[in-house]
Amino acid sequence: MSIFIDSSTRLIVQGITGRDGSFHTKQMIEYGTNVVAGVTPGKGGQMFEGRVPVFNTVHDAVRETGANTSVIYVPPVGAADAMLEAADAGIALVVCITEGVPVLDMTVVYPFFKEKGIRLIGPNCPGLISPGKSKVGIIPGSICTPGPIGLVSRSGTLTYELVYQMTRAGMGQTTCVGIGGDPINGTNFIDCLDAFENDPETTAVVMIGEIGGTDEQEAARFVKERMSKPVVGFIAGQTAPPGRRMGHAGAIISGSAGTAAEKMQAFEENGLGVAKRPIDVVGLLKERMK
C-alpha cells in the first residue's frame, strides 16, 4: 500500500516552469509519477516538455485534469499564497518543497488547511516517495527500493543517507516522508506514525529527528500508547550548541528545551530503538523485526 501517495496520485506542479520546478518535474515523470498539470501564472496554455499542460491557476488545472495532489516549487515570498491557492482549489494533498517560508505566514496557512481537512506536507521538505509507485518532491528514486519499512524525517540529505543504508541492507521502504525542517509544518511525526500503523504493508518505522521543539517527544509517547509496530529513531544535533539555528529554521535549542538528549531519552523511555549513529538504525531494525 503506502501512505499519502500511490498510483492513484494525480499531480499538479506549482512553479513548473521555474528552474527547480522544471528539473524536478522531469525527474518525477521519469520515476513514473502521474504529472497531469503544471501551474505558472501567465504561462497558461503552454505545454511542458510537450506533454504536461500548463495553467494560470490551480482552479483551472483541477477543473481540466481532476488533479488531487500538488507539489510547490515557488520561492519563499510566494509560497504561502501558493499553498492557500491549492487548498482553496480542492487539492487533497499539498507538498511544499520551498525553504525560507516566513514562520508567521505558516500561522495563517496551517489553520486554513486544518479547518478544510486538507493535508499539507512541509514546507522546507524534500517531499515523499512510495518506491515503485510514485514520487512527489525531490527524493532520489535510485536510492529507494520497495519494501516493508516506513520512514519519516525532518531532514533532506540525512534522509537519503538512511534510506541508502537501508536499501543496501535489503530493507526496502513502503513510503519515505520528509516532513521538513521548519518550526511550523503541515504534517508532523504523529500524523505519519498513525498512517504507518494503519498501513497493512508497513511492518516497522524509522523516525529521523533533529534538535528543536517537542515533536519527537510527543511522537515517542504516541508510539508507546498507540502503536504495535516497532519504531527506531535517530536524532541529529547531539553536538549542536544551544540558541543557534542549525540550518533548518526549526533546528534550534531554546534555552534548555528541544535538545537531542531530551529526545533520545523520550525514545528510550517509550520503548523505541535509539540509534546513536545513523548506521545503528539498520541493526536496531533487524533486532526489532524478528
Binding site: 515570498v77 525532518r154 533532506g156 540529505t157 525542517g181 550548541p241 549513529r277
Partner: protein, 384 residues
Amino acid sequence: MNIHEYQAKEIFRSHGIPIPPGDVATTPEEAEEIARRFGGTVVVKAQVHAGGRGKAGGVKLAKTPEEAKEIASRILGMEIKGLPVERVLVTPAADIASEAYVGIIVDRASKKPVFMVSPAGGIDIEEVAAQTPDKIMRLPVDSRYGLRGYQAMELAFFLYKDVKQARAAAKMMQELYEAFMDSGASLAEINPLVTTPSGEVLALDAKMVIDDNELDRRQSIAALRDESAEAPSEVEAREANLTFIKLDGNVGCIVNGAGLAMATMDLVKYYGGEPANFLDIGGSSNPEKVVNALRIITSDPNVKAILFNIFGGITRTDDVANGIVTATKATPLKVPIVIRLTGTNEEIALKILQDNGFSAMSDMDEAVKKAVALAIGNNSGMAA
C-alpha cells in the same frame, strides 16, 4: 537575527508603546553629553546581543554626567558572553513601583503567536516558568484575527488590578502585537514593564528577535543587522551563501544538508574528535562555493583536518569532486583532508579524487574515523 535594545525600542516607540527617551553613545564623552542633556539620574546600558547584561555589570545607574562618563568608559569595550560592547544606551532612570513581564513568541506546539505575561517581571522568565508557573498567563493569538481588545484586557487584568493601569497595559499589548507582526519577529519582549509611583505604565527594556526568513521581504529590518556582533567567519559565510556556525573543535566539516551536517558533527564526536564547525554547503557543486567553504574552514587555526561529507542525490558527486580539485589547486591546503562522496556518479567522482592524490571514500563512518585520526595525529600542525 538579533537586534539591539535601542533598535527594538525604536520599533516599539514607532508603534506607540510608551518608552522613556534614550540615546546611544559610542564614547564616554558622548555618554556624558547625553546624561547632561537628560539631567538627573540616568541608566547606562550595554548594547549587546546577550542576556544577563545586568549580572555582568553592563547596566549601571549614574547620578551625574561625570559618573555616566566614567561608567561608560568601563562598560564600553567590556566583553559580555564573548561579545564586545561597542555602544551604550543612556536613558533617564525611572522610579519603579512594580515590574512585570510581557512577551510574544511564535509557539511551535500551538502553531500560533503566543502572549506570555507575568507580574513577576525583571527576572528570567524561564526561571519563573520553572519555579512558579502559575505566575504566568499564556494566551495564543489567531494571527488571522489579531489580538482582540478583550484578549488584551484579559492579559492586562492578570497584571494589574487598577483599571487605569490595566487599560494602559492592554493598549500597549496591542501595540506590541502590531510591532511583532510588522517586523516579522519570532520574539518580542518587554522585561520589565513597570509602573511608576505616579501610576504610569512604561516599558523599560525591549528585546526582539527577527525570523531570518523575513529578512528578504523586510529590507529596513534587515538593515538593522549588527555584523560586529557576529564572528567574522560567520559574516563571510553568510555573504557567500553558506550556512556556517563556528565551534571550538579540530575537525572542520563541509557537508551538503543541515541534518546530515549535524549528524556528521555528532559522528566526529562519537569517534573521538571535536567538530570545529557546522557548515551546510547546500545542493550546489559550484566550485566557488567549495573555494569559499575551504577558505573559511582553513582560516580557523584550531582545524587540524578537514572532512567533506557529501551525499549526492540531485547533486552530482563528480561535479563536487571537480570543485574540490579546482579549489585546492587554486589554494593549496595546509591541513589533511578526507572526502566522502556517495551517490550520483560516485565511481567517477572517487576516481577523479584519487587521481589527484586525495583520500576518497564512500562510507561515512570510515571517513569520519579517518578524519579524526588525522586531526589528532596532526596536533603538531604538520600536514599529512
